[in-house]
Subunit: 492 residues, 2 copies
């Protein structure tokens, strides 16, 4: 065997301490069988001299390995590779003796790929954007939120406040949310009916994990939110696609399914159907509830943008008319504050909420106590409510301004209906326009909008996309539409 | 039919606005078939007079229902229940005509109970506690964290910082963590090998969802963390229990399993075995890695308390010696700061990390950008590292003080080994002592400690429990031991 010092390499510019570099390389030499059980190491003094480092560094490395059992010390004799190791056949150090990183590009085991989870990453780092329908965080009560968070963090009994909490979420927020939902949505909940989540997607994941079995039948709009579809596929559900029209999903199609096989769950965005923004008409709502009772399927009502309705009268959620306990109602603060605040809620019968709270334990244990309590404070003080009134006014103005622009500037290229609520316009482009190319060219001009690939899976192709107006000022909206107009004029 | 006004009830003390109370009750009357299609409602003026409320309130309720399609307005004639409703057979309003809450105790559908997820809720609201091994948040750099969080929230481009981010976690934290893990644990990771999670439990949940199939064989210590076991059961795994001794889990038992059937994954807390606190000896580590390569099973290394080791030389994680890409390494800030800060990490081969980041999308979409960036700042500025050095000193003193106390005051009643690391002592009580009764009596004296039910599932019963020392001052530890001593003296 070569002299020990020649097998070790030290890089003083490395952030890893030298003693750890040595210790790690020594274990590698033992592991690969190059240094066998019983091999006597150089004394720390000898090795330090050979490598021109401080003796203390070598002692520290040896001590480390003695404590771990790699080496053993024999009184008056020196330091040896421990004898309890199995004999290991030396393996050639590949890579020409150079250090091999121990984290890899490709794992040593295989796993089933899940192509249905793959999704183009939306990176809207452009200055301008007509997004999927996100709020404008410049309007959000961030200063108030920051103060409330700080109070939660620094006051009170830190062991209790910063320790493990309830898997249901912070009790204060459950109370405030229950009252808030009862007031604004004509629900009649108790705090026991409310489970705090990390947003709508976790509500879906909990329902899928807790209420679905592999092979269960699940129905949702043929056009609907991709993360809902992904969750149902992951749960092993059989998926039935429901067509929709200008009054929302077609409820007759659901009954047709129920007549042939048991349906376990229906997913619906009743308030503003995603992506087309239309509301589910009242008679269909009634019919849906009646079907759910008759056939015994769960309704998962995703009411992601209830608070953003521009007529004076928002449609009350289905959940308020559910007498049979068939409904799970889901919402979040994503549209209220900003997507980064991962706080949402699930509302349902108490036994279901208890069941899903148990599942919560194995997903992420619990939410963020400090943030949940800060949100509760903002609800109690009416700050969220005031912010909603203010942003609703602003977004209504932006919607009107944007729709006027779309009509006057782009009326020859696209068609749309003015949405009654939400933060985006569902636009249908002229079939001659290639949305993929247009979106790419806009990106080069520092404007992001989606090519609608998620929504154009149907045949014939809809050539549609959502253009969000809420996160841009009127000036930004004008610039954005100007860019699209110029690109369309150039290519026609 | 009774006059409309007699069917409606208004409660002005209710937080729900009166117009919503009316609108909601009207839809109920339609839904239950009491008001049929074509029924003419009182005019808003008539109803307002009959109910002694402002006419505007009634108009608002009617407008709401007109917009939702429950009612229709016929020019010059009045307001009617819409004609497009199917005929509904009137249902008796149960509950003597009183309002029925629309959220229930019991759902209208059934679901499979998951008894393995049920767990007694640990509520440590007592003044004193010897917990499972939690840190003392009174020592944590909360002021610095609060400032960093505030900076993240209020500065920079809010659309980018508070919008949707990467499912991998904040890039800055991935970089800082990669460097930190390389320095402290002799890993050789790149940021691409790091996925930010909400803590160890989410790391497990991601691995279960992404890498296990129903029926896969999984091995873990016969005594181990209950949340790990729950996750494997939920994933439908066949579980093999591995016995352990004073050197950690018995690796020979794992090979015996592999010889009979394919093993997919081994879960191990190599640094300090949970709950017994012993470290996996170096030769067993080697043997484990060799077995993993030979039989192709994944090692999930949960290194929950690596940073808390009281000898000068912590055992390096298995992950540092993994040349074959068989390892997933998992850690969190739970022990560093406090359980409420739900930030952790998974380290693995890049293709596995990419795969698990896709699954992350359907669980909670992403972590808390602001908190993750704040943690990155604290790592970059060395604040976490300084805090770790400081708390390590404090916890070592508390361990020594506590172990001295246990020996001198309770030596007749229990037995233990001084742990080399972690935040709890694994104590074995005299078989004559009933831990359940003792724990309950202590609770009445304002002291919490676990009765060890989670750890006493084996036969013969171990009569053991973990007593955490890190979260209590010396004074609090003295009081706590005093209470236990008094209770034991009284009952003997």
């Amino acid at each position: 065997m070569q002299p020990l010092s020649s097998l070790l390499r030290i890089d003083k510019s490395d952030r890893q301490p030298v003693y750890l570099q040595i210790a790690n390389q020594l274990t590698d030499l033992i592991r690969t069988g190059i240094m066998q059980s019983g091999y006597q190491l150089l004394s720390s003094r000898q090795l330090a001299e050979a490598m021109d480092i401080h003796r203390k560094t070598v002692v520290r490395a040896y001590d480390e390995l003695l404590a771990q059992g790699w080496l053993e010390s024999r009184a008056g004799s020196g330091t040896y590779v421990a004898t309890h190791f199995p004999e290991i056949k030396p393996q050639p150090i590949s890579n020409g003796g150079k250090e091999i990183p121990n984290t890899k590009k490709i794992a040593g085991f295989s796993f089933e790929d899940k192509p249905y989870l793959r999704r183009a990453v939306l990176k809207s780092m452009t200055s301008l954007r007509l997004d999927d329908g996100f709020p404008d965080p410049r309007l959000a009560p961030l200063e108030e939120l920051s103060r409330a968070y700080r109070t939660q963090l620094l006051t009170g009994n830190s062991y209790v406040k910063l320790g493990y909490g309830d898997t249901f979420g912070a009790q204060w927020l459950r109370q405030e949310l229950s009252a808030y939902l009862n007031e604004t949505r004509a629900l009649k909940t108790l705090p026991e009916n409310v489970l705090i989540t990390r947003g709508t997607v976790m509500g879906l994941h909990l329902a899928c994990t807790g209420l679905l079995k592999k092979g269960d039948n699940v129905a949702l709009g043929e056009l609907s939110w991709s993360s809902a579809r992904m969750n149902f596929i992951q749960a092993g559900a059989n998926i039935f696609d429901i067509p929709s029209d200008e009054y929302g999903i077609k409820v007759d199609a659901i009954e047709a399914i129920c007549q042939k096989q048991p349906l376990r769950l229906l997913y619906v965005t009743s308030h503003h159907h995603y992506p087309t923004t239309v509301a589910l008409r009242a008679d269909r709502r009634l019919q849906l509830l009646a079907l759910s009772e008759k056939y015994g399927f769960i309704i998962f009502e995703d009411d992601y943008d209830y608070d953003f309705h521009y007529l004076s009268k928002p449609l009350l959620p289905l959940a308020g008319a559910d007498r049979a306990g068939m409904l799970l109602y889901c919402g979040s603060f994503t549209k209220t504050i900003s997507p980064a605040f991962r706080v949402g809620y699930l509302v349902g019968s108490e036994n279901v909420i208890n069941h899903l709270a148990q599942i919560r334990r194995i997903i992420d244990r619990q939410g963020d106590n400090m943030l949940e309590n800060a949100m509760a404070e903002l609800l109690q003080n009416g700050i969220i409510q005031r912010h909603l009134r203010k942003s609703l006014r602003t977004y209504r103005q932006r919607r009107d301004f944007f729709c006027d622009l779309l009509k006057s500037e782009l009326g020859n290229y696209l068609d749309f209906q003015i949405p009654d609520g939400g933060m985006a316009v569902w636009t249908r482009f002229d079939p001659k326009i290639d949305l993929g190319t247009l979106s790419q060219k806009a990106h080069q001009k520092d404007l992001y909008f989606s090519d609608g690939a998620d929504s154009n899976t149907l045949s014939p192709k809809l050539n549609s996309t959502r253009l969000g107006f809420a996160s841009s000022t009127q000036d930004e909206l004008e610039q954005s539409v100007g860019i699209i107009k110029k690109l369309l004029e150039q290519s026609s």
